[in-house]
Amino acid sequence: MDMSFTPEQIAFRDEVRKGLREIMPERIRKKAELDQSFENEEVMEWHKALHTKGWSVPNWPKEHGGPGWDATQRFIFSEQLELGGAPALSPFGVSMVGPLIIQFGNDEQKKRFLPDIAAGTKVWCQGYSEPNSGSDLASLKTTAEKDSDGNYIVNGQKTWTTYAQYADWIFCLVRTNSQVKKQAGISFLLIDMKTDGVTAKPFLTSGNTYAFCETWFENAKVPKENLIGEENMGWTYAKALLGHERTMVAGVGISGRMLLRIKRMAKNTLRDGRPLLEDPTLRAKIARLEIKLEGLRMANYRALAGAQLGHAPGPESSILKLRGTEIQQECHDLAMEVMGHNSLSWFNEPGTVPPRQEAIPSNFNYVRAATIYAGSNEIQKNIISKLILGLPNG
């Protein structure tokens, strides 16, 4: 057993750091250094910068423009980005529809869609959730009916369509057969956001950001060429995608960065004239969280070492999302505690609170979603209970 990276992997990490520093625009670097949030245009600028290095789609095979990295290299790359506070790329093209097209799309679709995703010239969003299908995704009601030409007429409403207001395309799960078991009548469609009858309207999150839209489809006509794979097989494709990159969901880099930020803040915050970071009680609190994160990191390494060898995900990988999101929330709770009265601040003028603190209250609210989206933690526990522990169904 060995938990160290190989010399080659360490060299790779150094190369990544160097490369990232080289291509990072000054404006973004400054914001990253101060843990500030990024606008959509900054994220896309960073996407394009990564693309110049061939690093925008790290998990794609080389033939489609990926860098050809193995699981460990991808993990190292991702962790360095997260630890450095770099903008997170929109995952919908890069990590979701891209790999899905690569796996299930036809050649025509690959040629048509993949280059724009890699280059960051087309932005994607996801149309899965609906107002009445939360954790029970398969109960979705948006319909796609075939017209006489075999094209699809889509009607319905999607919600939680992240940044749909900036998106050029949306990938959707739609119902093409309502006579069968709910999972068996779902298809996977790619829809141009400029299609007549498609309307996206952003709504405010509790973090006071317009991160999501509600998206309506009213007799939106979608060419049959935009169907992925076979009709009524959409649920299978979507599920296959969920298995991708299980080793990335823990967010150990993100939480590591957050702990760093908390310590920096505590070093610059006074209590009774001394830096707060010197308080043994606070140090113990931070240490307990850091220890939790160490545990998660080790579990992540175990999952990663398995993935590197091509093994199926072991039991340890099922805890990554569950525990990772809990730790993200606890990090924000602790950051707010360290901020003290500055944690009252809500989207004030720059300078109202120290720059590193500005985004935290908003994130403190929004990070509540981490234990809800992508299969709520309650759903994760149901899954572990049944699939891993084999406990009986009720």
Partner: protein
């Protein structure tokens, strides 16, 4: 021992409750985001006329002569719909200082108009370095011929943006953090050298950063004894903390209730989600914390008037610490059990979540109050208590 509400108290609670529903449902809080001070003087006036602001003050200053339990009952109800008027900064913080430390003239000039609802008050005690230590004050008040000259910066002055008068802590002697040497002054925002910058808070309230640049006041503006403000400030923050616990109890009750209802209505996988045992037990945990929060808030409301400051501090610190843990739990789980809609601005549960954080952060957070509780004489004295010994 008696925890029954009197008929008068029951009527009071009913009145406030129906006011909240009709005049100030949570939707009003969202509207107040556009209001420059975040609340409305006409509503404040109304509260004054109904006697709510003065309920816990003696009749000679314009109050109703009740106890802070009555005030707490009002604040608890206001919490259920997040009424944004500055009850806590004006009545609990500033009111308690003036009542305990003000002269007859000061009470007449500053306290009575506030209790009537024609004015409102604030207390500026926080500075950039002060965290929860009330004597960590760098703002200075230099003695002049016939008064004082104040210079310094105060942060996060609750209702600083709306107050007609602001009680300010400033050093008349000693160095930062010396326990003696801090004094209190009543400042008007319009005075020369005062600048008030409004800032927005997470809970859709507003506050102010207030700067004093050589502001001159007469001796009649000194509240309490010179240099002896510490105990007044501690008392004031304990009133603030108790009010926060009362409001928090209202919030927990509201969140528990809306969550319970959601579990009873929302369907997933072909069943009401309230039939899922894991969610049922979570909701029970919320219920337990809500009951404990109500219990400790009541304890603080009763003990805030204790003659022995340590007895008061013990009850207030216990309640405020319980608010930090229990209130945090209830609002976090409230969001979680609402799922996706819980993290939209449109849904009320997020508003309660935000306000609960603010209430927990103000007037000493959980860490502060646990440490204070553990440092009180009662903590050690307990060791000597053994009813059957000797």
């Amino acid at each position: 021992m008696d925890f029954e509400l009197s008929d008068d108290q029951k009527m009071l609670v009913d009145t406030v409750q129906s006011f909240c529903k009709k005049e100030s449902p949570t939707e009003r809080l969202r509207k107040m985001r556009e209001n420059p001070i975040g609340w409305e003087k006409k509503i404040w006036q109304q509260m004054g006329e109904l006697g709510w602001l003065g309920v816990a003050f003696p009749e000679d200053v314009g109050g109703l002569g009740g106890s802070f339990v009555d005030a707490g009952l009002i604040i608890e109800q206001l919490g259920t719909t997040l009424v944004p008027e500055p009850f806590i900064p004006s009545v609990a913080l500033a009111g308690s200082i003036l009542q305990a430390g003000g002269t007859v003239a000061q009470k007449e000039q500053f306290l009575t108009p506030m209790l009537e609802g024609s004015e409102s008050l604030a207390v500026a005690y926080l500075e950039a370095q002060s965290r929860h230590t009330v004597t960590d004050v760098q703002t200075r008040a230099e003695k002049t011929g016939n008064g004082y000259k104040l210079t310094g910066k105060k942060r996060w002055v609750l209702n600083g943006q709306g107050a007609d008068h602001i009680v300010v802590s400033a050093r008349t002697g000693g160095e930062t953090r010396d326990t003696d040497g801090v004094s209190l002054f009543v400042i008007d925002p319009g005075m020369k050298g005062v600048s008030v910058n409004t800032v927005t808070c997470m809970d859709s309230h507003k506050a102010a950063m207030v700067e004093f640049d050589g502001v001159e006041v007469g001796e009649d503006r000194l509240v309490g004894q010179e240099g002896q403000a510490r105990s007044l400030l501690e008392l004031s923050l304990d009133y603030g903390a108790t009010a926060a616990c009362a409001e928090g109890a209202g919030i927990m009750q509201a969140v528990l209730s809306m969550t319970r209802n959601y579990l009873t209505e929302r369907e997933q996988f072909g069943a009401k989600i309230g039939t899922f045992q894991a969610l049922q037990h979570r909701c029970v945990d919320m219920f337990v914390e809500t009951e404990l929060g109500k219990s400790t808030a009541t304890m603080a409301m009763i003990k805030i008037a204790a003659k022995d400051a340590n007895e008061r501090k013990r009850a207030v610190s216990a309640a405020k610490s319980q608010l930090g843990t229990g209130g945090g739990f209830v609002t976090r789980q409230g969001v979680q059990l609402h799922g996706g809609i819980g993290v939209t601005d449109e849904h009320d549960v997020g508003l309660y979540f935000k306000r609960m954080h603010i209430l927990s952060a103000l007037f000493g957070d959980e860490e502060f109050h646990v440490a204070r509780f553990a440092s009180l004489p009662s903590f050690e004295e307990h060791v000597a208590t053994d009813p059957l010994a000797g």
